[in-house]
Symmetry: C2
Subunit: 240 residues, 2 copies
DNA sequence: ACCTGAACACCGTTCAAGT
DNA sequence: ACCTGAACACCGTTCAAGT
């Protein structure tokens, strides 16, 4: 009956398993059910192996997830579009729009990269290609007149902001399902906005659904505007 | 010998337990050992009660943690300084400096508020006092000439940025201990910066320790600069 | 109404094998 | 060298009591 009935007592031959096969299965599992549903037992069952077999290739669960995040970071980098040719401000805007779009379209990548440690590039190759990307982004800003430091910091600020938005959206999404929309809206309905004239006019904005859409774009514009203002000031200042 | 020897067979009297006592114990436990170390069993042992006793007051672990976050949000609000009297830009800067300082000084609050769902204010009172705070912050910006919408969005952008920085610092802190500093630095050492002239000059900045300190301030200044620039443009535009 | 223990289905990992 | 099952110490929660 079960597909196992044949293999019930068979043991996998020596070279039949591999790091790559485990990672591939893990990626599929996280894709389908999310990181929080991922467990060593479930992966073992999916791959039809003993749980302990994976401990030959990975020290522990965390080590496996780290390798998985590294793989996710590689896939993410491949999805970034080529944006050469834009002026610096449009370049930044499009870069971080693409950044957000990719993570929103592929929740696996978001869960493995954004929601886990900020530095996923543990392997040498991944780290190298990350730095190359960074170098190109910094170059765009330096060519536009920013100092190297200002360029690096600008990229960092925008990254943190974009990551913050994605984390916010994620946390809202999975807490907002049952308990919040009910309890939160009930609590919200009871609020008396009489003493809060300003909030009364915008409190529609605090509806998560409404807020998130415009929010990211607005902050992106704000930070780029700050950069433009900074650039103009330093351009005037030195004089000679 | 053990303090339990007396009470070994005694059963707690009816009114001896309370929501407040459980939350207090839970807060202490999370303070001491962090959220990820928190478990129902540990809390029960600490309070010297049966594990199931807590399920009379809370539906489940998540429900308990939600209530705990609500309590944490209340404590956070009390720690915010009064900043009336500052001009709008200095006000924003000081507000979010205080925001970050509190969470850095009290990791419990950070773990319970920043690292969990973005909307912790489930109870009516907590939500109300949050909105009152929001109203005051928006008022500062509206008085300075911002539209209500721009003011609300400005606050949201700065919140997301500040939260993003705190999350980054947190994730770095607990992943950076053993595995990263060793493996990451090893990988970093192998990188050939020959083809990356800009990064070669700033890559000290990417050392987490160095980066984090100036990073927050820089982004704060950048966003406020963007706001100033926006304010000047709208002030000129309408004319009459 | 309030507190509890036994039992269940999970989890990650150690250890001592098997081949 | 590579794969495995039994066993351990945990976890959250259901259920069926106790008082």
């Amino acid at each position: 009956m079960s597909p196992k009935s044949q293999a019930e007592t068979t043991r996998r031959p020596r070279g039949s398993l591999s790091r790559a096969e485990i990672l591939q299965g893990a990626f599929a599992l996280v894709s389908d059910d999310g990181v929080e549903a991922f467990s060593m037992s479930r992966l073992a069952k999916k791959l039809d192996i003993g749980v302990m077999s994976m401990y030959w290739y990975f020290r522990n669960k965390d080590d496996l997830l780290d390798a998985l995040s590294d793989e996710a970071a590689r896939r993410f980098a491949e999805l970034l579009p080529d944006l050469s040719g834009y002026p610096w401000d449009e370049h930044l805007r499009e870069y971080f729009r693409a950044f957000r779009r990719i993570y929103r379209e592929q929740p696996v990548l978001r869960d493995l990269i954004i929601m886990r440690a900020p530095m996923q590039y543990r392997s040498h190759e991944a780290l190298h290609s990350y730095f190359e990307r960074l170098e190109r982004e910094i170059a765009v800003l330096v060519d536009a007149g920013f100092t190297i430091d200002a360029a690096a910091r600008a990229y960092a600020v925008l990254s943190i902001y974009a990551r913050g938005c994605l984390i916010n959206e994620r946390l809202f999404a999975d807490s907002g399902q049952e308990r919040n929309s009910a309890e939160y809206n009930a609590a919200l309905g009871q609020i008396d906005f009489a003493g809060m004239p300003y909030l009364a006019k915008v409190h529609g904005v605090w509806d998560p659904e409404v807020a998130m859409e415009g929010e990211f774009e607005h902050g992106l514009g704000l930070i780029i505007e700050g950069l433009r203002s900074m650039l103009e000031q330093t351009a005037k200042a030195p004089g000679t």
